[in-house]
Symmetry: C2
Subunit: 404 residues, 2 copies
C-alpha cells in the first residue's frame, strides 16, 4: 500500500514496528499448521464453567456497578485481594501500591510513557520479551542489551555497561528484567544475582522494572524472592498478570510499586483508557475470593509440567546432534540454539512449508544477534501435535544441515 498519509504521522510512529510475533500468529492460524510460536496458554486451562457461574452471580449482585465506569486505579476489592495474595511473596502492600492495567502490555507502555525521553537508555536482557522492547522503543528509548547466561542477566556485564554508558553521557532510566522463567530463554535469576542487581540499581540510581508473568507457573523447586520484596525504597516496579495464571482474554493485569510511581501511572492511564473494564475486574475478584484461582492454577501447572516433559521427550527423540535447548522449571518456553552456521529465519521458511511454526530468537535481541536461536512454546499444543510438530521441525533442521 502506498503511504498516502505519511505526512501526518508523528516521528514516534515511525519507530513503531509490527510485532514479529503477532504477525507470525496470523500465519499460524492456517489449517494444519502446528504452532509453537505464540505464548498462548492452553485453552484446557481455562475454567470456563466456573467463570460462567461466577459471571452470572456477579451480574445478579453487582451488575449495575460492573457495567458502569470504574476508577482508573482499579476496583478496590480486587486490589485488596491482590495485596493479600502478595503476602505469600513477602510483600506487605496497601491498595495504593497497586494499579490494575489492561494487560501487562499496558503497564509496559505506561512505563515507557512516564519514564522515557527520546534517547534515554533502557537496559534489558539479551534476549528479552519483544513486547517490552517495542513498548519502550516506541517512546524513543535506546535499548542496551545485557547478555544472559543460564542464570539470567549477568550483573558483572550490567555494571560494566552502565559505567561505560554513563561515561558516554547517556541517561539511563531503568533496568527491564524478567527474573522468573525469562521470556524467551526460560532461565531464572538466583537470589544472589537479584541482590547484586538491586545493589547496582541503587549504586547507579536506576529504577528496576520487574516483569513477572510466569512466576506462579513453576513446575518444581522453590521460588526465589521477588525483586520487589528484596528492596524497600520503592525502586522496583513489578508487573503481574492474569494472562498466564487464568486467561489472557480478560486482558487483566496489575502493577505493584511505590505509591508515588503508581500515582503517576494512574495519571497516565487516565488518558490511555480511563479504566480497565470493571466488568472483568469484578468477575476475577469474585473468582479469587472463592479461592478458585489457586485451585485452577495448580491444575494448569500440572498440565504445563506434563507438556514440558513431553516436549523435552520429543526433542530428545527427534532432534539431531548439535542442537541445544533449555530445560526450564517453569514458564511456557524452551529456547533452542542451532549450530552457529544456521539461520533460524531461513529455517522458519522451510518449517512453515512443513506446517510447523516457531518464533526466531533474533526478534528478542535488541542488537539483532541470536540468528541461530528459536523460541518454542510448549503450553499450547497437545501431545499429538507436539510430537508431530517436533518431528517436522527436526526434519526441517536436518534438511538445512544437509544443504549447508
Amino acid at each position: 500500500m502506498t503511504e498516502t498519509f505519511n505526512r501526518f504521522y508523528s516521528d514516534a510512529s515511525h519507530l513503531m514496528k509490527k510485532s514479529a510475533i503477532r504477525e507470525i500468529l496470523k500465519l499460524t492460524q492456517r489449517p494444519d499448521m502446528i504452532s509453537f510460536a505464540g505464548g498462548l496458554p492452553s485453552p484446557d486451562s481455562f475454567p470456563i464453567e466456573d467463570l460462567k457461574k461466577i459471571t452470572s452471580e456477579m451480574m445478579d449482585e453487582e451488575g449495575k456497578e460492573a457495567l458502569q465506569y470504574g476508577t482508573t486505579e482499579g476496583d478496590l476489592r480486587l486490589r485488596t485481594l491482590l495485596a493479600e495474595r502478595h503476602r505469600k511473596d513477602g510483600l506487605n502492600l496497601s491498595p495504593a501500591s497497586i494499579m490494575i492495567t489492561t494487560g501487562s502490555q499496558q503497564a509496559l507502555d505506561l512505563c515507557g510513557k512516564i519514564f522515557i525521553n527520546r534517547g534515554d537508555v533502557v537496559l534489558c536482557g539479551l534476549p528479552s520479551y519483544l513486547g517490552g522492547l517495542n513498548a519502550f522503543s516506541n517512546y524513543g528509548a535506546k535499548l542496551k542489551g545485557i547478555p544472559l547466561d543460564d542464570q539470567g542477566m549477568r550483573p558483572d556485564l550490567l555494571e560494566k555497561t552502565i559505567v561505560s554508558l554513563k561515561n558516554d553521557g547517556s541517561i539511563i532510566k531503568f533496568i527491564y528484567i524478567i527474573p522468573d522463567f525469562q521470556n524467551p530463554t526460560g532461565v531464572t535469576l538466583p537470589l544472589s544475582r537479584r541482590l547484586e542487581i538491586i545493589r547496582i540499581a541503587e549504586r547507579h540510581d536506576l529504577i528496576i522494572v520487574e516483569d513477572s508473568p510466569y512466576r506462579d507457573v513453576r513446575f518444581e523447586g522453590t521460588p526465589e524472592p521477588m525483586m520487589s520484596s528484596l528492596e524497600t525504597h520503592g525502586r522496583v516496579l513489578t508487573l503481574n498478570t492474569f494472562s498466564k495464571i487464568l486467561a489472557p482474554g480478560f486482558r487483566l493485569a496489575w502493577v505493584t510499586g511505590h505509591p508515588e510511581i503508581i500515582d503517576k501511572l494512574v495519571t497516565s492511564k487516565q488518558a490511555a483508557d480511563l479504566c480497565t473494564p470493571p466488568f472483568v475486574q469484578r468477575i476475577v475478584a469474585r473468582y479469587i475470593e472463592k479461592g478458585l484461582l489457586d485451585v485452577n492454577l495448580k491444575k494448569t501447572v500440572d498440565l504445563y509440567r506434563n507438556r514440558r516433559d513431553y516436549m523435552l521427550r520429543c526433542f530428545r527423540e527427534y532432534m539431531p546432534d548439535g542442537i541445544k535447548w533449555t530445560e526450564p522449571s517453569g514458564g511456557l518456553f524452551l529456547f533452542v540454539t542451532l549450530p552457529p552456521s544456521m539461520d533460524a529465519a531461513r529455517l522458519l521458511e522451510k518449517a512453515i512449508q512443513k506446517k510447523v511454526a516457531f518464533v526466531c530468537g533474533s526478534v528478542f535481541y535488541c542488537n539483532n544477534e541470536g540468528h541461530n536461536t528459536m523460541r518454542i512454546n510448549f503450553s499450547f499444543t497437545g501431545e499429538k501435535d507436539t510430537c508431530e510438530g517436533v518431528r517436522r521441525l527436526a526434519e526441517a533442521i536436518r534438511e538445512e544441515m544437509a544443504s549447508a
Copy 2:
C-alpha cells in the same frame, strides 16, 4: 507527597494532568451527594438480564476463544457487524476500515501517539471534551480552541485561525470535533457546517478526528450525516463507543477510517495493550447479532429524553433570572452559563457543601476561559435526586449572587 522519584520521569509525564472530572467523581461518591458531574449513563439503561444470558451462551459455545488472546485489530465478527450497522449512516465499510479499541479514550490516545510531535497544533472546540484534550496534550500538542456558537464550531473562525497559525509557521495536524450533541455544550453541527469544515480540512490538508459518542442518543429530529460519510478520501477518522449506547463497564469502542491509518493505529495498539478483551468483544457481538442493541438503545433514548425534559422543567422552576442553559436534542448534558461576574469554581465549593456536584465548564476550555459556565449531566440521576439537586444548586447560585 514529596516527589521522590521526580528525576526519573519523562518530560511528557510533566504535561500530564489528572482529569478534573475524574477527581470530582471521587468527591461525588460521598453519601448524600447528588452528582450532575460525571458523564455517567444510567444503570437503569443496562440490560443486565440479557447480557447475563448471552454471556452464559457465549461461554458455552466459544469460551475457549473468548478467554484466549485475540487479534489487535479486534474480533472479525464484531467488526463485520459494526460495518453492517454503519450502513444506516451511509457508510460502506470493510472490516479493514474498523479497529476495536479499549474505550474511545484509547482511540484518542493512539491518535495522539501516531499523529503528534511535540509542538504540533490540534484544533478543537472551545469548549471541548477534556479527555480528548488531555490525550493530545500528553503528547505535547498545542491546543488551539475554535469558538462554538449554538450551531457548533464556527467555520469562519476555524479557517481564520488556520491561516494565522500557518503564517506563524505552526504545523497543524488535525481538527478534533464532536459534531453530534457536543460535549460539553450539547450543540449539533448542521450539514452546511460539516461540509464547510471538510472543505477547510481539504484546502489546508488536515485530518479530521470526528468523536461521536452521543450520535445515537438522539431524542428528536433527523440525524445530520456523519462527517466521515461526507468525505471520501479518508481524511476523517470517526471514534465510536458502546459506552453511551450499551455500557461503559465493557470499555468497548471502535474507530473507523482509511485502512492505511487504521493499520497505523493497529501497530500502535499492539504496544499499548495487545488487544481489547476478546471476552467482552464476543459478548457484545452476540448481543448485536440478536438485534438487542437497538431495542435497548430505544429504551435508553426514551429514558434520557424523559430525564432531559425533567431536568429542564426543574431548571425552569428553580433557577433565578440571569442563568442560561442549552436545551439539547440528544446526548447527556446541559451546558449552563452563569452571569459573567460569577465564578463556577467558587460556586462548586458552595454546591459541594450543599451536597450537589457539577463540572466547571472551564476545564473544557483549552485557553482557560469559561469561568462562568458549568456542565450538568441529566442521564444519571432519577427524578427525585434531579429535583432536589437542582433546588440545591439554585440555592447555591442565589447565595453567590447575593454575596456578589
